[in-house]
């Protein structure tokens, strides 16, 4: 495999991990515009451990994830007191504070960023990514995943049906933070560098955008979003490099991405990959996931009458068929 392809693949894998860190809270109805904060915590903890304390790579990445998860748990209680726009701003402010604090720790490089020598090779990155994907897929297939969806769709009704609102949201936020930390550990060891500048406001915005663009209804959405975000700008760059007449695409590739976000929000406000789409795909493959039927009436209308389920799905924890590989 060429170094170029390996680089793209590693970037894609990292983008998927970071996407899931925003996806988990989003799936429980919490918009997190502070992805950079958790990525920074995980990256600096993991990088600091390998470079300053000589800890092996994988334990360091795990520790980074744990640290980010712990911080996410602690801040989730105050942050969950806020709602709507205030929550977007609070997570955003949190990331800025994390960046500001890290900038002032000279042992971790301060403004010049943290450089590490330990290297996470492509197989390591991919293995961690697959683990993260399996975890998210499993989580969504559990009763807890159902609770997250219920909370996302309607907090009051979820509460009425006995869902532990606070627990669900705190857990979704914490797990998201931990995944962000793992993503940070991967970033710092794949690129041997992390700093507050590149993992700043724009980073958080990009992540939130491609996750919402991919769709937060299923675990496939963030993958689609990360694929789009990684491959489309890169493809445009390659295109401009090979065809001189398209040279303007080199600089303007993120204009295309921005326009795509606006258009997707207009035409597919629930994201590129929706539950209905996943269902149709799996239906075409002859193994429609049966537990995917408990959604709003407006989507039931869109389904063909012949595929309508006969009985209500049991509220147990039977895993959805598509969950394992998502």
């Amino acid at each position: 495999m060429s170094g170029y392809l390996a680089g793209i693949l590693a970037q894609l894998a990292i983008n998927i991990v970071v996407a899931y860190s925003v996806f988990l809270p989003a799936a429980a109805g919490l918009l997190n515009l502070g992805a950079a904060g958790f990525v920074l915590v995980g990256g600096y903890v993991a990088g600091g451990l390998t470079s300053l304390a000589g800890v092996p790579l994988l334990p360091a990445i795990a520790a980074g994830g744990a640290a980010a998860g712990a911080i996410a748990f602690l801040v989730s209680f105050p942050i969950l007191r806020t709602r709507g726009v205030y929550m977007v701003l609070a997570t955003f402010a949190f990331a800025e504070v994390v960046g500001g604090v890290l900038l002032n720790i000279p042992a971790l490089g301060g403004a010049s960023g943290l450089s590490v020598s330990a290297y996470a090779s492509l197989p390591v990155v991919l293995a961690v990514t697959v683990l993260v994907m399996a975890f998210v897929g499993w989580l969504l297939a559990t009763r807890f995943g159902l609770a997250m969806r219920a909370v996302h769709d309607d907090e009051s009704v979820a509460l009425l049906f006995g869902t532990n609102l606070r627990l669900t949201q705190v857990f979704a936020f914490t797990a998201g933070g931990a995944l962000g930390g793992i993503g940070g550990g991967l970033i710092v060891h794949q690129f041997n560098f992390i700093d507050v500048q590149t993992t700043g406001i724009m980073f958080s915005i990009f992540v939130l955008l491609y996750v919402l663009m991919g769709g937060t209804q299923t675990a496939w959405g963030p993958i689609a979003g990360a694929l789009f975000f990684t491959l489309v700008p890169e493809g445009l760059r390659r295109l401009s490099a090979t065809i001189p007449a398209l040279g303007f695409l080199e600089a303007s590739r993120y204009i295309v991405f921005g326009a795509a976000v606006v258009l997707v929000m207009m035409w597919r406000p629930e994201g590129l990959v929706t539950r209905t789409l996943v269902e149709q795909v799996f239906g075409a493959l002859g193994r429609r996931p049966e537990r995917d039927s408990g959604r709003g009436p407006e989507r039931d209308l869109g389904r063909r009458a012949g595929t309508r389920r006969e009985t209500s799905p049991p509220l147990d924890t039977a895993p959805r068929p598509e969950a394992g590989d998502g």
Partner: protein, 304 residues
Amino acid sequence: MEILQQLVNGLMLGGILAFVAVGFTLTIGILNFLNFTIPGLFMLAAMTLWATSTPGGYPLAWGLHWALAALAGIVVCVVASLVIERFTYRYMKAKYRDATEHALPLVSSLGFLLIFEHLAITLWGTEPHRAALPFADSDLRLGGLVVGVPQLISLGLAIVLVAFLSTVLSRTRLGRALRAIAENPDAATLMGIEVNRIVPVVFVVTGAMTALAGILYVASYRTVTPFIGDTIATDAIAGMVIGGLGNVWGAVVGGLFVGMLKVLAINFFGSEIEKIPVWGLLLVLLILKPTGLFGHTAIGREKF
């Protein structure tokens, strides 16, 4: 004296922040929409002013008189703002009724922010440019204090414009319509207010205010890059929250406060600490008293 000079500097930075914060607070107060295109509009006005007033060497470098260039910046921003209104707020409203329910306008506005920033990067590159404006060196010296004239103008203009805005909002027919929309768009429609004709007014005012802020920024600091909007707008958001969402005078006070806080923090603790006091304060405030100092409790709640 040193401290006094820093306070003056903070007040001057705060004047620009106040401008931007008023733009944010108007859209959020009336439409319940956190307009993330504002950093892009701010930068677009500043870059347009620089580019069109430069004699040559760059796209759109027409060598215009600075006043015409400033006007071009404002026009570009107002037009862009109307495009944003069409593709974020109005579209969502028409298609999904309660536009704010899906967080869609917020996300689309982030998309527009990307478009604007990378448009500027495509046209003019990422390196900083220096605008040659005639009045940039005019500093007033008042008994040892150095006061920049452009900053003084921006502070004065901010106060005058906000006074005008708040009069419009509280006294005129248009203001009453806007407040009705802020309270309940559906009820406003029933009362005969043409929401689709009134809402663009908010976007025009926001675009023009933000453009003015960008122009005054260039006049004060002269250096432009495609990224100037990010820091200014995030600080303005902090100012808006401190002042209370939806309150124009609160935005002015909050903007001035953040400006002074930043300048003083840099003065006492060095430039690398600047983020912590502003954002730390904002985080604490959001958690303890999310309505800010003068905010209304209903705004921004339950919705995105």
